[in-house]
Symmetry: D2
Subunit: 141 residues, 4 copies
Amino acid sequence: MTQKKLQVEKEVEVRFSEVDSMGIVWHGNYALYFEDARELFGKTYHLEYLHMYEMGFYAPLVELSIQYKRPATLDDKLRVICTYRETDAAKIIFDYEIRHADTDEILVTGHSVQVFLDMQHQLVWQTPAFYTEWKKINGLC
Amino acid sequence: MTQKKLQVEKEVEVRFSEVDSMGIVWHGNYALYFEDARELFGKTYHLEYLHMYEMGFYAPLVELSIQYKRPATLDDKLRVICTYRETDAAKIIFDYEIRHADTDEILVTGHSVQVFLDMQHQLVWQTPAFYTEWKKINGLC
Amino acid sequence: MTQKKLQVEKEVEVRFSEVDSMGIVWHGNYALYFEDARELFGKTYHLEYLHMYEMGFYAPLVELSIQYKRPATLDDKLRVICTYRETDAAKIIFDYEIRHADTDEILVTGHSVQVFLDMQHQLVWQTPAFYTEWKKINGLC
Amino acid sequence: MTQKKLQVEKEVEVRFSEVDSMGIVWHGNYALYFEDARELFGKTYHLEYLHMYEMGFYAPLVELSIQYKRPATLDDKLRVICTYRETDAAKIIFDYEIRHADTDEILVTGHSVQVFLDMQHQLVWQTPAFYTEWKKINGLC
C-alpha cells in the first residue's frame, strides 16, 4: 500500500528588496519562502498555529537547514514545494524544495523541525493526541 | 529663555542584507534606522511604549515621511539624530536626520507622527495627563 | 476631454514575518507593498528601471510618505493601488492606497517621488526625452 | 602544540522589527546576526568578500543550518560568536553560537559553509592559493 504524500506548492515572486548587492536573493530570505509554503501547508491540511494553540500547544522551530544550489534573481518566479516528512517523534518535520518556475531547476533545498511546547513552555515528549488524530485523518498511521 | 532641545543620537552600521542590487541601502530600511533612534529616545527620556501602555495608552505611528538626499552604502556608519518636535496637539512628533558618521554629510531626513489610542483602540484627542507631566519634567511647558 | 488615469492594483498577502509583536504589520513594511505595486506599474506601462537605465537614467526615490489609518494583521489580503500623478517637473510621482481586500477599508495611503540622475549620478532638471515620449504614448500630454 | 582558534564575537541588539507576533525574534532573522559576526570575522582576519573577489573568487554560501534552543526577545543584547572550523576542503566553514549577553545562556547555534567560484561562476575544487596562504598566516597549516 502506498502512503499518501502530503505536499503543497506555493508560488513566490522575488521582491526587489530581497535581492542583495550581488544581484541575487539574499540567502536569509529563503526562510521567508519556506515559511510561505509552510503556512500554506497548515491551511491546506488544517495544521495551523492557531489550531495547535487552541489544542494547548505551541510548535516552535528548533531547526532550520538550507542548501543553496543556484542563485535566484530579481523577477524570478519560484515554486516552493513543502513536503511533510513522516516521523514517530513528537515533531513536525518539513522538507523544502525551491524550483525556478520557468526552468524547473532546483535552486534551494532544506528542512525544518518543530517540537511541541505546552502552555507552560515545557517541551512535550509524547505525541499530542490532536497530532496523532491529525496523522490518522491524513492516512499517516 | 531658551528651551531645552530633546535629542538623541544613535550610531547604526549598514548591514549587507540592507543593501540592494544598486549597491545602496534599500530605501525602506531607513524606517529601521529611524526606529532605532526613536527607541533610544524613549529609553533616554523615559517615553517608552511599555511605560505608555502602563499609563493606559498605545502610541501608534500615523505618519512617516522620508527624504532621501544621498545614498548610504555597505559598511557605512551612520549617525541617526532624533529630535523631539514640540506640539500642543495630543501627538508625539519626531524629526530625524541621518548623517554619514565620517563625512558628516546629511543623507536622509524625515519625521514621524504618533497619536494616542486608549485601551479600546479609540483615538484620544486630549493630551493624556502622563504626557503633560512628561513635558513638564522635560521643561517643555 | 477626460484624461486617462494610469493605475495598477497589486494584491499582497501579509507574511508572518511582517507582523510585529503588537500583532500588526510593522509600519516599515508598507514600503515593500508600495514597491510591489510600483514595479507592477513599471511592467504594465513599460516604465521599468531597466528601460530607464538603457535610456541613460537612474530614477532614485527622493521622497516617501506614508499615512497609517488602520492596522493590517496576519493573513490579511491587501489591495495596493498605485496611481501615476501628473506633473510637469522632471519627476515620477505615485500615489498609493492600500485597502483591505475583503472589507475595502482604506488602511494606508502614501506617495513617492523619484527624480532622474544621469549616468554620472548628476541630477537631471529637464524632463528626459524618453519620459516626454512615454507621457505622450500614455495620453498625458 | 595547540592550534590557534580563530574566533570573533559581535554584540547585537534585537530590533523591534525583528520580533514577531509571538514576542520573540523571528527565526529567519538569526541569519542576519550570523552574517554580522561573519563580516566581523572577515574584517578581523582579513578574509573579506572584496579581498577574495580581487583574488579572483566568489565565496557564496551553500549551506546554512540553525538550531534554536531558547527564544530571544525585544531589547535582548546578544553575543554572536563566530568560530572558523578547520577543513582540508576548498571551503570556508563557520560555527556560530548566540548567547544572551546578560545571562550567558546559549540561545542559538549553527554553521555555514561557503565554496569558491571562479569569475566564470564555476566551482573551484582545489583550494585557491590565496586561501592556503591565509591559512598559513593564521597558523592553520
